[in-house]
Amino acid sequence: MKGKFGISVLLALCLVMFVGPGSALADEDDEVAAAGVEGTARADKLDACVAPTAFMRRNHFELIEHQRDITVHEGIRKTDNSLAGCIDCHVRHDAAGQYVPVNAQGEFCSACHEYVGASLDCFTCHATKPTGTE
């Protein structure tokens, strides 16, 4: 089970890379996103996520959703699990050095979701790349 999921994710990532540009899930506001360049996310240069990778694959949404509730209701901001933090570390740059929205087609927060048919509404409100307003 464990292995299978990892493989399907890899497949998904490959698939998506060959689909090329098209009707992206990207923000309606974002100019048609250029492709993110491999290796340009801060995460690409690190070994570990905020929790073990296998755990993240299966449970990342529970982590963020828990964080969402305690941030909004209890004011807890000192954390590794903020959504803004996920985006900061996982966002990639395009060839021109500009951020590519994390939910643009094939980007980190979109590739798996497209594959499994999960759709999120988070990015109708939340920034999809660092905006320096934190």
């Binding site: 923000d27 309606e28 506001d29 969402r68 509730d69 305690i70 941030t71 909004v72 209701h73 209890e74 004011g75 807890i76 901001r77 000192k78 954390t79 803004a84 985006i87 509404d121 109708t124 409100c125 939340h126 920034a127 999809t128 660092p130 905006t131 320096g132 307003t133 934190e134």
Partner: protein, 253 residues
């Protein structure tokens, strides 16, 4: 999920502070020492109640510094007028956390200008009517909307006696990280909660007021500027008859 309010503890504190005399500036406002550092790593508690005193005699007519500072701080200036909408329509519907309001005393004709925002009631009608629990009062007294559970029904907007809430009618195109928002949710002043949670002690409107008309702080701390000002000057709650025990008080209206 919302904070259960420990009524007994509250009653106990009220008595205790009553005994400590002079510090009870208003019902529900009593002393308690606090100093918490940040960004927060522990849940907010009711050892703090945030509140504000606005001295309307210092509030210059026509001045909108607090409103524009609030707009900037909370990303409200990033919202765009919908295509084809008239200026008048936009003026009426654009989300605003602070409104400049003019009050006229019909008997005397005296006019007062004042900033009106969420009054952060102890008994908020917006929380009572919310069907999903999205409208809630945080332990430290800040009344706000959890936009993850808001369904946009707008009951709270109808229930608020202060007309303090705004609705996001259109999808939001420019989204700063610090101020997420989207179509279909209600929002209102949250005392710049992101500042407070990150160790800040002031609100944007207070910082922007050149006339020093806004004092913000912890109503439970007798040594806070706001508690001292409340102890010193006569102040009122707007629509005190509703017995909501507002966290925002005004002098000279």
């Amino acid at each position: 999920m919302s904070q259960p309010i420990d009524k007994q503890r509250r009653a106990f504190l009220a008595t205790a502070s009553g005994a400590a005399a002079a510090t009870a500036v208003a019902p529900g406002v009593f002393l308690h020492a606090v100093a918490e550092a940040a960004p927060r790593d522990s849940a907010v508690s009711d050892s703090v109640r945030y509140g504000m005193l606005i001295d309307t005699s210092k509030c210059a007519e026509g001045c909108t510094d607090c409103v524009s500072a609030c707009d900037r701080e909370n990303g409200l200036d990033m919202l765009l007028k919908p295509e084809g909408a008239s200026d008048q329509h936009w003026d009426m519907q654009r989300p605003r956390w602070i409104r400049q309001v003019k009050l006229k005393n019909n008997l005397t004709g005296r006019v007062t200008a004042l900033p009106m925002m969420c009054q952060h009631c102890e008994h908020p009608p917006c929380v009572d009517v919310c069907p999903t629990g999205a409208s809630f009062r945080r332990a430290d007294g800040i009344v706000m909307v959890d936009r993850h559970t808001c369904i946009g029904c707008r009951y709270c907007m109808m229930a608020c006696p202060y007309n303090a809430r705004s609705f996001i009618h259109e999808s939001v195109r420019l989204k700063p990280t610090a101020t997420p928002r989207g179509k279909g949710c209600v929002e209102s002043c949250n005392f710049c909660v992101h500042r407070l949670d990150n160790g800040g002690t002031t609100t944007a409107c207070q910082d922007a007021c050149q006339h020093g008309a806004i004092v913000f702080g912890d109503l439970r701390d007798p040594n806070s500027a706001v508690s001292k000002a409340l102890a010193q000057y006569p102040s009122e709650q707007i629509r005190a008859d509703l017995k909501l025990n507002t966290g925002v008080r005004y002098t000279d209206i």
